[in-house]
């Protein structure tokens, strides 16, 4: 108590406090990104194009990051099992194309078709995670991996027939990448798009994210939502207060899985391709590190963390190749990304978090 008040008195102490609450690595990453932005005009990169890129990618990825929030809040830890939700989304996407839907309609059909899969897989996943409290993250990782490799077999074996999805020669087995041209490519991004010179904002995409983020935010202010937060921050206390902890965790896992399914569909509409087989394998890691960069910890996350984190992470991913390459003439962006994202996860894992095991 005493130390705290004295700390607040000095300016240096205040800065220290700020660093403590925001986290040194986050400050470094934010500073790094700022530097990249400042440096970009000097190396001949158009700052508006760069910003457009960052905002675009923010729109594509934000919902995948948002999918982390419910599970973190309910005490299930970081959702390394994100690929499970992604698979539901991929099933929805491929089925929507298989059934012959085109244009913007196919996007909403894909969401509708992905939902039951997300519910079923999420329920199973939640049931499993309730059995192994304390070891969620490691097992979630491997649940994701197993699911992805299992689906690799299924993509070959399932009776898909749509000619632009299957291999041309044999007429069966899905291709590794499926073009969404004529389906829902850019459906959200082009909706209400604002364009000023080289700078454009995909309003539709951001709006879609805002609606979902608002829904999640609102959910956490309902009775169930607060109960979920309680179950996450102190399970014993929540149990004593009459909260069904297992049920709360189950709901959060299903929510996360469903959001991941939507997230991958939004990502695909921006990217323009459906990637299957091994593509979803490591998709959890960027999302995990993004939310951590945004200031979340292993057992606490907010919508603000999602927005800041996705922006910082995508900013670094898009800016480093152009800026760093022109400065040192080496393509170190890949390495920078690996070190930054995994370093961030490591940092979060080694923090002492109260209330978790």
């Amino acid at each position: 108590m005493n130390a705290k008040t004295s700390e607040e008195k000095t300016a240096g102490g205040r800065i220290q406090g700020l660093i403590k609450s925001f986290g040194l690595p986050r400050l470094i990453i934010a500073g790094f990104l700022l530097l990249l932005f400042i440096a970009s005009p000097f190396v001949g990169a158009n700052i508006f194009t760069q910003l457009t890129n960052v905002i675009n990618r923010f729109g594509w990825n934000a919902i995948l990051v948002l999918a982390m929030v419910p599970m973190v809040q309910s005490g299930c830890g970081l959702n390394f099992g994100l690929p499970l939700g992604i698979i539901s989304g991929l099933l929805g996407a491929t089925l929507s194309i298989e059934f012959g839907f085109t244009g913007g309609l196919s996007f909403f059909v894909a969401i509708a078709l992905a939902t039951p899969f997300a519910l079923i897989l999420g329920t199973g996943y939640g049931w499993l995670l309730n059995k192994i409290k304390g070891g969620e993250m490691m097992i979630a990782t491997y649940v994701g991996f197993s699911a992805v490799s299992f689906m690799c077999m299924m993509w070959i074996l399932l009776p898909y027939h749509a000619p632009n999805m299957v291999w041309g020669l044999s007429g069966k087995g899905l291709r590794t990448t499926i073009s969404l041209e004529g389906y829902y490519a850019q459906v959200l991004s082009n909706f209400l798009k604002i364009k000023i010179g080289s700078f454009s904002i995909p309003v539709g995409n951001l709006l879609f994210f805002a609606v979902l983020a608002l829904a999640v935010w609102a959910f956490f202010h309902t009775k169930t939502g607060t109960a979920m937060t309680a179950a996450g921050s102190n399970p014993t206390f929540a149990k004593a207060a009459g909260v069904n902890v297992d049920k709360m965790r189950m709901i959060s896992v299903i929510m996360s899985t469903w959001l991941a399914a939507i997230g991958i569909l939004v990502y695909e509409q921006g990217f323009g391709f459906v990637q299957i087989y091994m593509a979803p394998f490591y998709m959890a890691l960027p999302a995990v590190s993004a939310i951590l960069i945004g200031g979340a910890s292993v057992n606490k996350a907010s919508i603000l963390n999602v927005i800041i984190g996705t922006f910082l992470f995508q900013g670094i991913v898009t800016m480093t190749p152009t800026v760093m390459n022109s400065i040192i003439h080496m393509d170190v962006s890949e390495v920078v990304r690996i070190i930054v994202s995994n370093g961030m996860i490591l940092y979060a894992l080694t923090r002492k978090t109260e209330g978790s095991k």
């Binding site: 059995k131 490691m138 991996f145 070959i156 080496m330 390495v335 070190i339 995994n342 370093g343 894992l349």
Partner: protein, 378 residues
């Protein structure tokens, strides 16, 4: 009392107990038993393959045992040692050291790198007690980034690499594959015996045997006992005057150094080094093999290693062709074996966690009962 019950157990009960104690190995024996006849490989071919792969992999898997003993779970950080071994091999290839001296030199070069990485890994894991596995898993990714930074960008301008045969044409960085033709299978071929077409790499097996003996001896030393104590209960060990943090770091360092050696042995058998991909899968495959051998997160023995190596590789060899025969698609079998590797790890981890929880809740109930008893006594 205990003896009595075991002798009284009927055969059926014993069998059931055996089955419930070893579900993973039994499942695998069944998978292999189904796949082998379908795949159509000759027993001679299979035996030969198993021998080669045993020599290649056993050493790497053995290095996982020490962290398990110290209660740190499956060491996904063994990848760090593998990277250290690869750096040793890159230097040896550049300095043109051939044959067994090259292998020995690569191992020696890997030692300091492994020790530094091991200390780093151990320190980080000490900060993340209770989630060692996921942390060591992320560490392996993190260090992979550093490895790429060193090998892809620093080798050439900063770390001298003479030969253009292993350097990328752009002037810095190492090529995708480094040929180790002059080192290829030099350990395996020395003293090898061929019986009816089955080549047995005797020297490699002797090295593995020496390592096994070392483990048996190590368990009995003061350090080994300390590690087991730390693995049983950290708090109790600390009360007993053991430096828990240091013991844990030592166990990781030992594992990392051994993984470096294991990687050198593994790569000398392969004959070329895939610079950027060799280590990416190695941790996962080794852990899957160990778990298939019946090990769990908190208990593993040398027996598990050998059984695991044989069963895992048997599955690995026969799965693709079985898949092709059954479904007509060659990829199915390949995906199948990847799926099985991941599936096994998932199942084993789940079983371990549920067991841990059951024990915990039982202990809780016991405590409650004891307290009630105490109250009644008063």
């Amino acid at each position: 009392m205990k003896n009595n019950t075991t002798t009284q157990m009927s055969f059926g009960k014993k069998l059931r107990r055996f089955l419930s104690d070893n579900p993973v190995p039994i499942m695998f024996i069944i998978i292999c038993a189904v796949c082998i006849p379908v795949s159509g490989f000759s027993p001679g071919y299979l035996l030969n393959e198993i021998m080669t792969r045993m020599g290649r992999n056993t050493f790497l898997i053995l290095c996982l045992l020490i962290p398990i003993m110290a209660g740190m779970g499956l060491n996904f950080g063994m990848t760090l040692g593998a990277m250290a071994g690869e750096i040793g091999l890159i230097f040896v290839a550049d300095w043109q050291i051939y044959g067994i001296p090259g292998v020995v030199l690569a191992m020696i070069i890997s030692i300091p790198i492994s020790i530094v990485l091991g200390i780093f890994c151990g320190k980080v894991l000490n900060m993340a007690k209770g989630r060692e596995m996921i942390t060591s898993y992320i560490i392996s990714f993190f260090i992979n980034g550093v490895y790429q930074l060193v090998v892809l960008y620093m080798m050439g301008p900063i770390i001298p690499i003479k030969h253009s045969s292993i350097r990328l044409p752009r002037g810095y960085g190492i090529r995708n594959t480094v040929s180790l033709l002059n080192m290829r299978q030099c350990l395996d071929n020395l003293m090898s015996i061929t019986i009816k077409g089955v080549k047995i790499p005797v020297l490699t097996f002797i090295i593995v045997g020496v390592l096994c003996l070392f483990f048996v001896w190590f368990k009995k030393t003061k350090l080994g006992q300390d590690m087991r104590a730390v693995g049983q209960d950290m708090e109790v060990a600390r009360d007993a005057g053991i430096n828990v943090e240091r013991t844990r770091i030592i166990s990781i360092v030992m594992s990392t150094v051994l993984a470096g050696f294991g990687m050198v042995i593994y790569i000398q058998n392969m004959g070329n080094l895939p610079t950027y991909t060799a280590h990416s899968q190695i941790g996962m495959f080794c852990i899957a093999a160990l778990l298939i051998g019946g090990a769990s997160v908190d208990h593993a023995s040398i027996k598990n290693v050998f059984l695991g190596v044989i069963l895992f590789h048997l599955m690995f060899i026969v799965a693709p062709s079985t898949g092709t025969k059954i479904t007509g698609d060659s990829m199915i079998g390949e995906y199948f074996r990847v799926f099985v590797s991941y599936g096994v790890i998932t199942v084993a981890l789940t079983m371990y966690e549920t067991k841990k929880r059951r024990i915990k809740s039982r202990a809780g109930q016991q405590l409650k009962a004891d307290q009630k008893g105490d109250e009644a006594d008063e």
